[in-house]
Protein backbone atom coordinates (compact mmCIF):
# COMPACT_ATOMS: atom_id res chain seq x y z
CA UNK A 1 0.00 0.00 0.00
CA UNK A 2 1.39 3.36 -0.91
CA UNK A 3 1.75 5.94 1.81
CA UNK A 4 -0.30 9.08 2.08
CA UNK A 5 1.56 12.01 0.61
CA UNK A 6 0.69 15.69 0.79
CA UNK A 7 2.05 19.07 -0.12
CA UNK A 8 1.99 21.04 3.11
CA UNK A 9 3.23 24.09 4.89
CA UNK A 10 5.44 23.62 7.96
CA UNK A 11 2.73 24.93 10.26
CA UNK A 12 0.12 22.60 8.80
CA UNK A 13 2.52 19.68 9.16
CA UNK A 14 3.03 20.62 12.80
CA UNK A 15 -0.70 20.37 13.46
CA UNK A 16 -0.91 16.97 11.77
CA UNK A 17 2.13 15.77 13.69
CA UNK A 18 0.42 16.78 16.92
CA UNK A 19 -2.69 14.84 15.97
CA UNK A 20 -0.60 11.76 15.16
CA UNK A 21 1.00 12.08 18.61
CA UNK A 22 -2.42 11.99 20.23
CA UNK A 23 -2.94 15.68 20.89
CA UNK A 24 -6.55 16.22 21.94
CA UNK A 25 -6.47 19.74 23.31
CA UNK A 26 -5.25 22.95 21.72
CA UNK A 27 -5.29 26.38 23.36
CA UNK A 28 -4.11 29.29 21.30
CA UNK A 29 -4.19 32.92 20.43
CA UNK A 30 -3.82 34.31 16.91
CA UNK A 31 -0.31 35.45 16.00
CA UNK A 32 1.63 35.70 12.79
CA UNK A 33 3.39 33.59 11.58
CA UNK A 34 2.03 30.58 13.44
CA UNK A 35 -1.75 30.94 13.16
CA UNK A 36 -2.13 28.13 10.61
CA UNK A 37 -1.47 25.63 13.39
CA UNK A 38 -4.50 26.93 15.28
CA UNK A 39 -6.59 26.95 12.12
CA UNK A 40 -5.84 23.32 11.30
CA UNK A 41 -6.42 22.27 14.90
CA UNK A 42 -9.77 24.08 14.97
CA UNK A 43 -10.84 21.98 11.99
CA UNK A 44 -9.38 18.63 13.04
CA UNK A 45 -9.74 18.41 16.81
CA UNK A 46 -13.55 18.41 17.04
CA UNK A 47 -13.63 15.62 14.44
CA UNK A 48 -11.88 13.33 16.91
CA UNK A 49 -13.76 14.65 19.93
CA UNK A 50 -10.82 16.83 20.96
CA UNK A 51 -11.07 20.38 22.17
CA UNK A 52 -9.92 23.60 20.57
CA UNK A 53 -10.11 26.86 22.45
CA UNK A 54 -9.04 30.29 21.35
CA UNK A 55 -8.24 32.11 24.56
CA UNK A 56 -8.28 35.80 25.41
CA UNK A 57 -4.51 36.14 25.28
CA UNK A 58 -1.26 34.20 25.01
CA UNK A 59 -0.97 33.69 28.75
CA UNK A 60 -4.53 32.40 28.87
CA UNK A 61 -3.74 29.93 26.09
CA UNK A 62 -0.75 28.62 28.00
CA UNK A 63 -2.81 28.39 31.19
CA UNK A 64 -5.61 26.53 29.43
CA UNK A 65 -3.29 23.86 28.03
CA UNK A 66 -1.65 23.33 31.42
CA UNK A 67 -5.07 22.94 33.03
CA UNK A 68 -6.17 20.54 30.30
CA UNK A 69 -2.95 18.54 30.61
CA UNK A 70 -3.57 18.08 34.33
CA UNK A 71 -7.02 16.84 33.36
CA UNK A 72 -5.30 14.17 31.26
CA UNK A 73 -5.17 15.71 27.80
CA UNK A 74 -2.21 15.82 25.44
CA UNK A 75 -1.87 19.50 24.78
CA UNK A 76 -0.42 21.95 22.29
CA UNK A 77 -0.21 25.69 21.88
CA UNK A 78 1.35 27.65 19.05
CA UNK A 79 2.80 31.12 19.05
CA UNK A 80 5.59 33.38 17.88
CA UNK A 81 8.09 35.76 19.54
CA UNK A 82 5.87 38.28 21.36
CA UNK A 83 3.54 35.47 22.34
CA UNK A 84 6.46 33.41 23.56
CA UNK A 85 7.49 36.32 25.80
CA UNK A 86 4.03 36.31 27.36
CA UNK A 87 3.89 32.54 27.68
CA UNK A 88 7.19 32.42 29.54
CA UNK A 89 5.46 33.01 32.87
CA UNK A 90 3.53 29.79 32.59
CA UNK A 91 6.21 27.82 30.77
CA UNK A 92 8.00 28.22 34.10
CA UNK A 93 4.85 26.97 35.83
CA UNK A 94 4.85 23.91 33.57
CA UNK A 95 8.50 23.30 34.48
CA UNK A 96 8.12 23.52 38.25
CA UNK A 97 4.75 21.77 38.43
CA UNK A 98 6.05 19.24 35.85
CA UNK A 99 3.13 19.33 33.46
CA UNK A 100 3.61 17.86 29.97
CA UNK A 101 2.83 20.28 27.14
CA UNK A 102 4.16 21.26 23.73
CA UNK A 103 4.82 24.88 22.81
CA UNK A 104 5.26 25.41 19.09
CA UNK A 105 6.95 28.74 18.48
CA UNK A 106 7.66 30.10 15.03
CA UNK A 107 10.72 32.33 15.14
CA UNK A 108 10.12 35.75 13.58
CA UNK A 109 12.13 38.95 13.78
CA UNK A 110 12.36 40.56 17.19
CA UNK A 111 12.55 41.86 19.85
CA UNK A 112 9.03 43.07 20.47
CA UNK A 113 6.80 43.20 17.40
CA UNK A 114 9.92 43.18 15.24
CA UNK A 115 9.21 41.72 11.83
CA UNK A 116 6.08 39.60 12.11
CA UNK A 117 6.47 38.09 8.65
CA UNK A 118 10.26 37.97 8.55
CA UNK A 119 12.25 34.88 9.51
CA UNK A 120 14.60 34.76 12.44
CA UNK A 121 16.30 32.30 14.74
CA UNK A 122 16.51 34.66 17.66
CA UNK A 123 14.24 32.85 20.14
CA UNK A 124 16.60 29.95 20.80
CA UNK A 125 17.98 31.49 23.97
CA UNK A 126 14.47 32.41 25.12
CA UNK A 127 13.69 28.70 24.91
CA UNK A 128 16.18 28.10 27.70
CA UNK A 129 16.41 31.35 29.60
CA UNK A 130 13.09 33.01 28.88
CA UNK A 131 11.32 32.09 32.06
CA UNK A 132 12.95 32.96 35.34
CA UNK A 133 14.61 30.50 37.65
CA UNK A 134 16.53 27.31 37.00
CA UNK A 135 14.53 24.84 34.98
CA UNK A 136 14.89 22.12 32.37
CA UNK A 137 14.69 23.03 28.70
CA UNK A 138 14.01 20.90 25.65
CA UNK A 139 13.86 22.69 22.31
CA UNK A 140 13.72 21.12 18.85
CA UNK A 141 14.61 23.04 15.69
CA UNK A 142 13.30 21.35 12.54
CA UNK A 143 14.63 22.22 9.09
CA UNK A 144 11.94 20.90 6.76
CA UNK A 145 8.22 20.31 6.57
CA UNK A 146 8.66 16.56 7.00
CA UNK A 147 10.93 17.11 9.96
CA UNK A 148 8.52 19.58 11.54
CA UNK A 149 5.87 16.86 11.45
CA UNK A 150 8.23 14.30 12.95
CA UNK A 151 9.69 16.63 15.55
CA UNK A 152 6.29 17.67 16.82
CA UNK A 153 5.55 13.98 17.43
CA UNK A 154 8.89 13.64 19.18
CA UNK A 155 8.16 16.78 21.22
CA UNK A 156 4.95 15.21 22.52
CA UNK A 157 6.79 12.01 23.32
CA UNK A 158 9.54 13.84 25.18
CA UNK A 159 7.12 16.04 27.09
CA UNK A 160 5.10 13.01 28.19
CA UNK A 161 8.19 10.95 28.98
CA UNK A 162 9.98 13.64 30.96
CA UNK A 163 6.86 15.41 32.28
CA UNK A 164 7.98 18.86 31.20
CA UNK A 165 7.17 21.52 28.60
CA UNK A 166 8.89 20.94 25.26
CA UNK A 167 9.34 23.60 22.60
CA UNK A 168 9.44 23.14 18.87
CA UNK A 169 10.91 26.17 17.17
CA UNK A 170 10.97 26.32 13.40
CA UNK A 171 12.04 29.61 11.89
CA UNK A 172 9.45 31.40 9.79
CA UNK A 173 10.91 29.98 6.56
CA UNK A 174 10.40 26.38 7.66
CA UNK A 175 6.98 27.23 9.10
CA UNK A 176 5.69 28.77 5.90
CA UNK A 177 7.39 26.90 3.10
CA UNK A 178 5.53 24.14 1.31
CA UNK A 179 7.09 20.77 0.71
CA UNK A 180 6.17 17.21 0.05
CA UNK A 181 5.43 15.26 3.17
CA UNK A 182 4.98 11.52 3.57
CA UNK A 183 2.72 10.59 6.45
CA UNK A 184 3.66 7.56 8.54
CA UNK A 185 1.07 4.84 9.03
CA UNK A 186 -0.65 4.57 12.38
CA UNK A 187 1.69 2.65 14.65
CA UNK A 188 4.73 3.25 12.48
CA UNK A 189 6.11 6.01 14.69
CA UNK A 190 6.23 5.45 18.43
CA UNK A 191 3.78 7.49 20.46
CA UNK A 192 4.55 7.88 24.16
CA UNK A 193 2.08 8.70 26.92
CA UNK A 194 2.84 9.84 30.44
CA UNK A 195 3.42 7.26 33.16
CA UNK A 196 0.24 6.81 35.19
CA UNK A 197 0.40 6.04 38.89
CA UNK A 198 0.66 2.39 39.88
CA UNK A 199 -0.40 3.13 43.45
CA UNK A 200 -3.86 3.74 44.87
CA UNK A 201 -5.26 7.28 45.15
CA UNK A 202 -4.62 7.19 48.90
CA UNK A 203 -0.94 6.44 48.41
CA UNK A 204 -0.39 8.73 45.44
CA UNK A 205 2.05 11.63 45.60
CA UNK A 206 2.44 13.71 42.45
CA UNK A 207 6.21 14.11 42.87
CA UNK A 208 7.10 10.75 44.38
CA UNK A 209 10.77 10.27 43.50
CA UNK A 210 10.75 6.68 44.64
CA UNK A 211 9.57 6.13 41.06
CA UNK A 212 12.66 7.89 39.69
CA UNK A 213 13.40 11.38 38.50
CA UNK A 214 10.16 11.49 36.51
CA UNK A 215 7.33 10.62 38.90
CA UNK A 216 4.05 9.28 37.48
CA UNK A 217 1.34 11.88 36.86
CA UNK A 218 -2.31 11.22 37.66
CA UNK A 219 -5.12 13.16 36.01
CA UNK A 220 -7.72 15.32 37.66
CA UNK A 221 -11.05 13.59 37.47
CA UNK A 222 -9.60 10.06 37.41
CA UNK A 223 -10.15 9.25 41.05
CA UNK A 224 -6.89 10.77 42.23
CA UNK A 225 -6.95 13.91 44.40
CA UNK A 226 -3.77 15.92 44.64
CA UNK A 227 -2.44 19.43 44.93
CA UNK A 228 -0.50 21.30 42.28
CA UNK A 229 1.26 24.61 42.90
CA UNK A 230 3.83 26.88 41.30
CA UNK A 231 5.58 27.19 44.63
CA UNK A 232 8.57 25.02 45.41
CA UNK A 233 6.98 21.84 46.56
CA UNK A 234 7.50 18.59 48.40
CA UNK A 235 6.87 15.12 47.01
CA UNK A 236 3.23 15.33 48.07
CA UNK A 237 2.77 18.49 46.00
CA UNK A 238 2.41 20.89 48.91
CA UNK A 239 4.60 23.97 49.19
CA UNK A 240 7.76 24.06 51.21
CA UNK A 241 10.66 26.40 51.90
CA UNK A 242 12.78 23.72 53.51
CA UNK A 243 16.22 24.33 52.08
CA UNK A 244 17.24 20.73 51.53
CA UNK A 245 13.96 19.79 49.85
CA UNK A 246 13.95 22.84 47.56
CA UNK A 247 17.56 22.19 46.57
CA UNK A 248 16.93 18.52 45.85
CA UNK A 249 13.72 19.13 43.88
CA UNK A 250 15.23 21.92 41.78
CA UNK A 251 18.22 19.74 40.97
CA UNK A 252 16.00 16.80 40.08
CA UNK A 253 13.86 18.88 37.72
CA UNK A 254 16.93 19.95 35.76
CA UNK A 255 18.64 16.57 36.05
CA UNK A 256 15.71 14.62 34.60
CA UNK A 257 16.47 16.33 31.29
CA UNK A 258 20.21 17.02 31.46
CA UNK A 259 21.13 13.50 32.58
CA UNK A 260 19.11 12.11 29.69
CA UNK A 261 20.73 14.28 27.04
CA UNK A 262 21.77 11.19 25.07
CA UNK A 263 18.13 10.18 24.78
CA UNK A 264 16.98 13.65 23.81
CA UNK A 265 19.74 15.24 21.72
CA UNK A 266 19.53 14.56 18.00
CA UNK A 267 21.70 15.90 15.20
CA UNK A 268 22.80 15.18 11.66
CA UNK A 269 26.41 14.76 10.57
CA UNK A 270 26.87 15.66 6.93
CA UNK A 271 30.21 15.07 5.20
CA UNK A 272 32.01 15.22 8.53
CA UNK A 273 34.40 12.28 8.17
CA UNK A 274 37.34 14.20 6.77
CA UNK A 275 35.99 17.73 7.17
CA UNK A 276 38.24 20.44 8.49
CA UNK A 277 35.78 23.27 7.98
CA UNK A 278 32.52 22.51 9.73
CA UNK A 279 29.37 24.52 9.48
CA UNK A 280 27.16 24.28 12.53
CA UNK A 281 23.66 25.15 11.44
CA UNK A 282 20.01 24.58 12.29
CA UNK A 283 16.60 25.27 10.83
CA UNK A 284 16.31 26.76 7.36
CA UNK A 285 19.88 28.05 7.60
CA UNK A 286 21.09 24.44 7.47
CA UNK A 287 19.55 24.12 4.01
CA UNK A 288 21.82 26.89 2.72
CA UNK A 289 24.69 25.31 4.62
CA UNK A 290 24.13 21.93 2.95
CA UNK A 291 24.20 23.61 -0.45
CA UNK A 292 27.38 25.48 0.50
CA UNK A 293 29.07 22.27 1.71
CA UNK A 294 28.25 20.57 -1.59
CA UNK A 295 29.60 23.54 -3.54
CA UNK A 296 32.74 23.65 -1.39
CA UNK A 297 33.37 19.94 -1.91
CA UNK A 298 33.15 20.50 -5.68
CA UNK A 299 35.83 23.14 -5.27
CA UNK A 300 38.06 20.76 -3.33
CA UNK A 301 37.42 22.13 0.17
CA UNK A 302 37.00 19.61 2.96
CA UNK A 303 33.75 21.03 4.22
CA UNK A 304 31.04 19.43 6.31
CA UNK A 305 28.03 20.27 8.38
CA UNK A 306 26.95 19.44 11.89
CA UNK A 307 23.22 20.08 11.90
CA UNK A 308 21.59 20.75 15.23
CA UNK A 309 18.15 19.17 15.49
CA UNK A 310 17.84 19.48 19.25
CA UNK A 311 18.92 22.92 20.37
CA UNK A 312 18.32 22.24 24.07
CA UNK A 313 19.87 20.30 25.61
CA UNK A 314 22.70 21.64 23.44
CA UNK A 315 24.87 18.99 21.75
CA UNK A 316 27.84 19.85 23.96
CA UNK A 317 29.48 16.45 23.79
CA UNK A 318 29.40 16.24 20.00
CA UNK A 319 30.68 19.75 19.42
CA UNK A 320 33.43 19.34 22.02
CA UNK A 321 34.60 16.22 20.17
CA UNK A 322 34.54 17.99 16.81
CA UNK A 323 36.43 21.01 18.10
CA UNK A 324 39.59 18.95 18.52
CA UNK A 325 39.49 17.78 14.91
CA UNK A 326 38.69 20.81 12.77
CA UNK A 327 40.37 23.98 11.60
CA UNK A 328 37.33 26.07 12.28
CA UNK A 329 33.60 26.28 12.77
CA UNK A 330 31.26 28.43 10.74
CA UNK A 331 28.03 29.32 12.49
CA UNK A 332 25.46 30.96 10.25
CA UNK A 333 22.29 32.00 12.03
CA UNK A 334 19.48 34.53 11.82
CA UNK A 335 20.41 36.28 15.05
CA UNK A 336 23.50 38.02 16.40
CA UNK A 337 25.37 34.93 17.53
CA UNK A 338 23.23 32.97 19.97
CA UNK A 339 24.29 29.54 18.77
CA UNK A 340 27.81 30.76 18.08
CA UNK A 341 28.21 31.61 21.77
CA UNK A 342 27.18 28.09 22.71
CA UNK A 343 29.60 26.63 20.15
CA UNK A 344 32.35 28.82 21.57
CA UNK A 345 31.56 27.52 25.04
CA UNK A 346 31.83 23.94 23.79
CA UNK A 347 34.91 24.50 21.61
CA UNK A 348 36.87 25.72 24.63
CA UNK A 349 39.31 27.61 22.43
CA UNK A 350 40.26 24.53 20.40
CA UNK A 351 38.76 25.82 17.15
CA UNK A 352 38.01 29.34 15.95
CA UNK A 353 34.39 30.27 15.34
CA UNK A 354 33.34 32.32 12.35
CA UNK A 355 29.87 33.70 12.61
CA UNK A 356 27.50 34.79 9.89
CA UNK A 357 24.76 36.70 11.63
CA UNK A 358 21.76 38.19 9.89
CA UNK A 359 18.86 39.92 11.56
CA UNK A 360 17.51 41.75 8.53
CA UNK A 361 14.69 39.33 7.83
CA UNK A 362 16.55 37.82 4.87
CA UNK A 363 17.75 34.22 4.77
CA UNK A 364 21.44 33.43 4.83
CA UNK A 365 22.36 32.29 1.34
CA UNK A 366 24.84 29.55 0.40
CA UNK A 367 27.31 32.01 -1.17
CA UNK A 368 27.74 33.82 2.13
CA UNK A 369 28.61 30.53 3.81
CA UNK A 370 30.89 29.43 0.98
CA UNK A 371 32.79 32.72 1.08
CA UNK A 372 33.27 32.35 4.83
CA UNK A 373 34.59 28.79 4.38
CA UNK A 374 37.36 30.12 2.22
CA UNK A 375 38.48 32.41 5.03
CA UNK A 376 39.14 29.47 7.36
CA UNK A 377 42.84 28.71 7.18
Amino acid sequence: MSKKVAFLQGNEAAAHGALYAGCNFFGGYPITPSTEVAEVMSVELPKIGGKFVQMEDEIGAMAAILGASLAGSKVLTSTSGPGLSLKQELIGYGCIAEIPCVVYNVMRGGPSTGMPTGPSQSDVMAAKWGTHGDHPAICLVPASVQETYEEVIRAFNLSEKYRTPVMVMPDEIVAHMRERIVFPEQGEVEVVSRKSPSVSPEQYKPYDTSFGDVPPLASFGSGYKFHVTGLNKMQDGFPTTKAEIVQAEEERQVRKVEANADDIVTFEEYQLDDADVVVIAYGSTSRSARYAVNAAREQGLKAGMFRIKTFWPFPDKQIKALAGKVKGFIVPEMNLGMCANEVERCAQGKAPIHGIFRVDGEPINPDQILDKMKEVK
Partner: protein, 271 residues
Protein backbone atom coordinates in the same frame (compact mmCIF):
# COMPACT_ATOMS: atom_id res chain seq x y z
CA UNK B 1 -24.77 18.58 65.47
CA UNK B 2 -21.62 20.45 64.65
CA UNK B 3 -20.78 20.40 60.99
CA UNK B 4 -17.91 18.03 60.26
CA UNK B 5 -15.46 20.11 58.26
CA UNK B 6 -12.78 17.47 58.76
CA UNK B 7 -14.35 15.38 56.01
CA UNK B 8 -13.11 17.97 53.54
CA UNK B 9 -10.00 19.42 55.17
CA UNK B 10 -6.72 17.75 54.34
CA UNK B 11 -5.26 16.14 57.43
CA UNK B 12 -2.61 18.17 59.20
CA UNK B 13 -3.16 21.34 57.20
CA UNK B 14 -4.81 23.40 59.95
CA UNK B 15 -4.29 25.94 61.38
CA UNK B 16 -4.36 27.85 58.09
CA UNK B 17 -2.07 30.72 57.20
CA UNK B 18 -4.66 33.50 57.40
CA UNK B 19 -4.32 36.25 60.00
CA UNK B 20 -6.51 36.45 63.10
CA UNK B 21 -9.92 37.75 62.08
CA UNK B 22 -9.40 37.38 58.33
CA UNK B 23 -12.68 36.28 56.79
CA UNK B 24 -11.15 33.89 54.25
CA UNK B 25 -11.58 31.02 56.70
CA UNK B 26 -15.27 31.87 57.04
CA UNK B 27 -15.61 31.72 53.26
CA UNK B 28 -13.76 28.42 53.09
CA UNK B 29 -16.17 26.97 55.62
CA UNK B 30 -19.06 28.24 53.52
CA UNK B 31 -17.61 26.56 50.45
CA UNK B 32 -17.19 23.28 52.33
CA UNK B 33 -20.79 23.36 53.56
CA UNK B 34 -21.94 24.10 50.02
CA UNK B 35 -19.99 21.14 48.66
CA UNK B 36 -21.52 18.96 51.33
CA UNK B 37 -25.05 20.19 50.64
CA UNK B 38 -24.60 19.38 46.97
CA UNK B 39 -22.84 16.11 47.65
CA UNK B 40 -20.00 16.99 45.30
CA UNK B 41 -17.55 14.15 44.91
CA UNK B 42 -14.13 15.33 46.08
CA UNK B 43 -12.23 13.44 43.42
CA UNK B 44 -14.48 14.93 40.77
CA UNK B 45 -14.13 18.50 41.98
CA UNK B 46 -11.31 20.82 40.99
CA UNK B 47 -10.62 23.95 43.01
CA UNK B 48 -8.44 26.39 41.15
CA UNK B 49 -6.89 29.60 42.43
CA UNK B 50 -4.34 32.24 41.52
CA UNK B 51 -1.92 33.93 43.90
CA UNK B 52 -2.56 35.80 47.11
CA UNK B 53 -3.95 35.08 50.56
CA UNK B 54 -7.35 33.94 49.29
CA UNK B 55 -5.68 31.77 46.64
CA UNK B 56 -4.16 29.59 49.35
CA UNK B 57 -7.62 28.16 49.99
CA UNK B 58 -7.39 25.12 47.65
CA UNK B 59 -4.41 23.73 49.55
CA UNK B 60 -6.64 22.99 52.53
CA UNK B 61 -9.43 21.17 50.76
CA UNK B 62 -9.16 17.51 49.88
CA UNK B 63 -10.06 17.73 46.18
CA UNK B 64 -8.16 18.10 42.92
CA UNK B 65 -6.59 21.43 43.73
CA UNK B 66 -4.62 23.74 41.51
CA UNK B 67 -2.82 26.77 42.89
CA UNK B 68 -1.81 28.51 39.67
CA UNK B 69 0.08 31.73 38.90
CA UNK B 70 -1.05 35.25 39.75
CA UNK B 71 -4.32 36.04 38.02
CA UNK B 72 -4.44 32.90 35.92
CA UNK B 73 -6.98 30.79 37.78
CA UNK B 74 -9.81 31.37 35.32
CA UNK B 75 -7.65 30.43 32.33
CA UNK B 76 -6.24 27.24 33.92
CA UNK B 77 -9.72 26.33 35.08
CA UNK B 78 -11.09 26.82 31.56
CA UNK B 79 -8.60 24.20 30.38
CA UNK B 80 -9.60 21.76 33.11
CA UNK B 81 -13.33 22.25 32.52
CA UNK B 82 -13.16 22.05 28.75
CA UNK B 83 -10.99 18.94 28.92
CA UNK B 84 -13.27 17.27 31.49
CA UNK B 85 -16.71 18.94 31.42
CA UNK B 86 -18.01 16.31 33.84
CA UNK B 87 -15.87 17.78 36.63
CA UNK B 88 -17.11 20.43 39.04
CA UNK B 89 -14.75 23.36 38.71
CA UNK B 90 -14.64 25.99 41.43
CA UNK B 91 -12.35 29.00 41.35
CA UNK B 92 -11.35 31.17 44.23
CA UNK B 93 -9.10 34.12 44.85
CA UNK B 94 -8.91 37.71 45.88
CA UNK B 95 -9.86 41.03 44.33
CA UNK B 96 -6.39 41.97 43.11
CA UNK B 97 -5.68 38.54 41.66
CA UNK B 98 -9.05 38.30 39.96
CA UNK B 99 -9.68 41.80 38.67
CA UNK B 100 -6.23 43.34 38.10
CA UNK B 101 -3.64 40.86 36.83
CA UNK B 102 -6.38 38.32 36.15
CA UNK B 103 -8.95 40.81 34.89
CA UNK B 104 -8.73 39.71 31.30
CA UNK B 105 -9.17 36.02 32.09
CA UNK B 106 -12.02 36.92 34.45
CA UNK B 107 -14.09 38.89 31.96
CA UNK B 108 -13.57 36.32 29.24
CA UNK B 109 -14.58 33.44 31.49
CA UNK B 110 -17.75 35.48 32.17
CA UNK B 111 -18.25 36.03 28.43
CA UNK B 112 -17.84 32.36 27.55
CA UNK B 113 -20.36 31.42 30.19
CA UNK B 114 -18.43 28.26 30.97
CA UNK B 115 -19.97 26.24 33.78
CA UNK B 116 -17.68 27.13 36.69
CA UNK B 117 -18.15 29.02 39.95
CA UNK B 118 -15.78 31.80 40.90
CA UNK B 119 -15.64 32.85 44.55
CA UNK B 120 -13.96 36.23 44.84
CA UNK B 121 -12.97 37.22 48.33
CA UNK B 122 -12.92 40.99 48.12
CA UNK B 123 -10.99 42.52 50.99
CA UNK B 124 -10.12 45.69 49.04
CA UNK B 125 -6.38 45.12 49.18
CA UNK B 126 -3.36 43.04 48.19
CA UNK B 127 -2.88 41.37 51.54
CA UNK B 128 -0.07 38.91 50.93
CA UNK B 129 2.33 41.51 49.56
CA UNK B 130 1.64 43.83 52.46
CA UNK B 131 -1.34 46.00 51.65
CA UNK B 132 -1.00 47.69 48.27
CA UNK B 133 -4.18 49.13 46.74
CA UNK B 134 -6.15 46.94 44.37
CA UNK B 135 -8.78 47.73 41.73
CA UNK B 136 -11.31 47.22 44.53
CA UNK B 137 -9.79 49.68 47.01
CA UNK B 138 -12.27 52.52 47.41
CA UNK B 139 -11.17 55.96 46.23
CA UNK B 140 -9.55 57.97 48.98
CA UNK B 141 -8.67 54.93 51.09
CA UNK B 142 -5.19 54.21 52.26
CA UNK B 143 -2.91 51.41 51.24
CA UNK B 144 0.84 50.97 51.47
CA UNK B 145 1.10 52.43 47.96
CA UNK B 146 -1.58 55.11 48.41
CA UNK B 147 -0.23 56.82 51.52
CA UNK B 148 -2.08 60.05 50.63
CA UNK B 149 -5.33 58.34 49.76
CA UNK B 150 -6.20 56.26 46.71
CA UNK B 151 -6.70 58.44 43.60
CA UNK B 152 -8.07 55.48 41.57
CA UNK B 153 -11.76 54.80 41.11
CA UNK B 154 -12.61 51.21 42.00
CA UNK B 155 -14.42 48.33 40.37
CA UNK B 156 -17.80 47.08 41.44
CA UNK B 157 -16.82 43.43 40.90
CA UNK B 158 -20.38 42.13 40.68
CA UNK B 159 -21.30 44.73 38.07
CA UNK B 160 -18.11 43.95 36.18
CA UNK B 161 -19.11 40.28 36.10
CA UNK B 162 -22.64 41.06 34.94
CA UNK B 163 -21.36 43.43 32.26
CA UNK B 164 -18.91 40.82 31.01
CA UNK B 165 -21.62 38.20 30.60
CA UNK B 166 -21.62 36.09 33.76
CA UNK B 167 -25.05 34.50 34.03
CA UNK B 168 -25.20 34.21 37.82
CA UNK B 169 -23.82 36.90 40.10
CA UNK B 170 -24.25 37.02 43.85
CA UNK B 171 -22.73 38.93 46.72
CA UNK B 172 -22.38 38.13 50.36
CA UNK B 173 -20.15 39.13 53.23
CA UNK B 174 -17.88 37.31 55.62
CA UNK B 175 -20.07 38.57 58.46
CA UNK B 176 -23.18 36.92 57.03
CA UNK B 177 -21.63 33.50 57.33
CA UNK B 178 -24.78 31.43 57.09
CA UNK B 179 -25.63 33.01 53.73
CA UNK B 180 -22.29 32.16 52.11
CA UNK B 181 -22.94 28.46 51.57
CA UNK B 182 -26.44 29.14 50.26
CA UNK B 183 -25.12 31.57 47.66
CA UNK B 184 -22.38 29.12 46.65
CA UNK B 185 -24.87 26.25 46.39
CA UNK B 186 -27.06 28.28 44.06
CA UNK B 187 -24.02 29.39 42.06
CA UNK B 188 -22.75 25.85 41.58
CA UNK B 189 -26.22 24.63 40.62
CA UNK B 190 -26.47 27.34 37.98
CA UNK B 191 -25.49 26.10 34.52
CA UNK B 192 -23.01 28.70 33.34
CA UNK B 193 -20.36 30.99 34.73
CA UNK B 194 -21.29 32.07 38.22
CA UNK B 195 -19.58 34.67 40.35
CA UNK B 196 -19.94 34.95 44.11
CA UNK B 197 -18.29 38.04 45.53
CA UNK B 198 -17.79 37.85 49.26
CA UNK B 199 -16.95 41.15 50.93
CA UNK B 200 -14.21 40.29 53.29
CA UNK B 201 -12.00 41.94 55.85
CA UNK B 202 -8.26 42.32 55.96
CA UNK B 203 -7.57 43.65 59.44
CA UNK B 204 -3.81 43.36 59.05
CA UNK B 205 -3.07 45.39 55.94
CA UNK B 206 -6.28 47.29 55.18
CA UNK B 207 -8.05 47.79 58.47
CA UNK B 208 -5.21 49.32 60.39
CA UNK B 209 -4.47 51.84 57.64
CA UNK B 210 -8.10 52.87 57.36
CA UNK B 211 -9.00 53.62 60.96
CA UNK B 212 -10.57 50.32 61.85
CA UNK B 213 -9.54 49.69 65.40
CA UNK B 214 -10.29 45.99 65.36
CA UNK B 215 -11.56 42.98 63.48
CA UNK B 216 -14.88 43.59 65.19
CA UNK B 217 -15.17 47.09 63.72
CA UNK B 218 -14.53 45.67 60.29
CA UNK B 219 -17.14 42.97 60.79
CA UNK B 220 -19.61 45.54 62.08
CA UNK B 221 -19.04 47.62 58.98
CA UNK B 222 -19.93 44.60 56.79
CA UNK B 223 -23.01 44.07 58.93
CA UNK B 224 -24.08 47.69 58.51
CA UNK B 225 -23.48 48.24 54.79
CA UNK B 226 -25.04 45.00 53.57
CA UNK B 227 -28.62 45.23 52.38
CA UNK B 228 -30.35 42.16 50.95
CA UNK B 229 -31.72 42.82 47.45
CA UNK B 230 -35.26 42.07 48.63
CA UNK B 231 -35.03 44.63 51.42
CA UNK B 232 -33.49 47.16 49.07
CA UNK B 233 -36.60 47.06 46.88
CA UNK B 234 -38.51 48.77 49.65
CA UNK B 235 -35.83 51.35 50.38
CA UNK B 236 -35.41 54.86 48.98
CA UNK B 237 -32.33 55.99 47.11
CA UNK B 238 -31.44 58.05 50.13
CA UNK B 239 -31.70 55.07 52.43
CA UNK B 240 -29.52 53.06 50.08
CA UNK B 241 -26.75 55.65 50.12
CA UNK B 242 -23.51 53.93 51.12
CA UNK B 243 -25.15 50.51 51.26
CA UNK B 244 -24.06 47.44 49.33
CA UNK B 245 -26.59 44.99 47.92
CA UNK B 246 -26.24 41.34 48.90
CA UNK B 247 -27.91 38.17 47.74
CA UNK B 248 -28.43 36.97 44.18
CA UNK B 249 -27.93 40.09 42.09
CA UNK B 250 -28.33 38.63 38.63
CA UNK B 251 -29.40 35.40 37.03
CA UNK B 252 -30.14 34.44 33.47
CA UNK B 253 -30.22 31.28 31.39
CA UNK B 254 -27.88 31.29 28.41
CA UNK B 255 -26.10 28.63 26.36
CA UNK B 256 -23.24 27.16 28.34
CA UNK B 257 -19.79 26.90 26.77
CA UNK B 258 -18.93 23.21 27.16
CA UNK B 259 -22.43 22.27 25.96
CA UNK B 260 -21.97 24.55 22.97
CA UNK B 261 -18.58 23.00 22.28
CA UNK B 262 -20.19 19.55 22.34
CA UNK B 263 -22.37 20.82 19.49
CA UNK B 264 -19.25 21.94 17.61
CA UNK B 265 -17.97 18.37 17.91
CA UNK B 266 -21.30 17.05 16.61
CA UNK B 267 -21.21 19.40 13.63
CA UNK B 268 -17.58 18.51 12.85
CA UNK B 269 -18.31 14.80 13.04
CA UNK B 270 -21.43 15.08 10.90
CA UNK B 271 -19.41 16.42 7.98
Amino acid sequence: MAFDYDKYIRPGKLPHIWCPGCGHGIVMKGLIRAMDTLGLKKENTAIVSGIGCASRLPGYIDCCTLHTAHGRAAAFATGVKLAKPEMNVILCGGDGDGTAIGGNHFIHACRRNIDMTYIIMNNYIYGMTGGQFSPATPTGHKASTTPYGNPDPCFDIAKLAIGAGATFVARGTAFHANQIDKLIVEAIQHKGFSVVEILDDCPTTYGRRNKYKSVIEMMNRLKEVAVPVKAAEKMTAEQLQGKILTGVLYKEEKPEYTAEYAKVIERAQAK
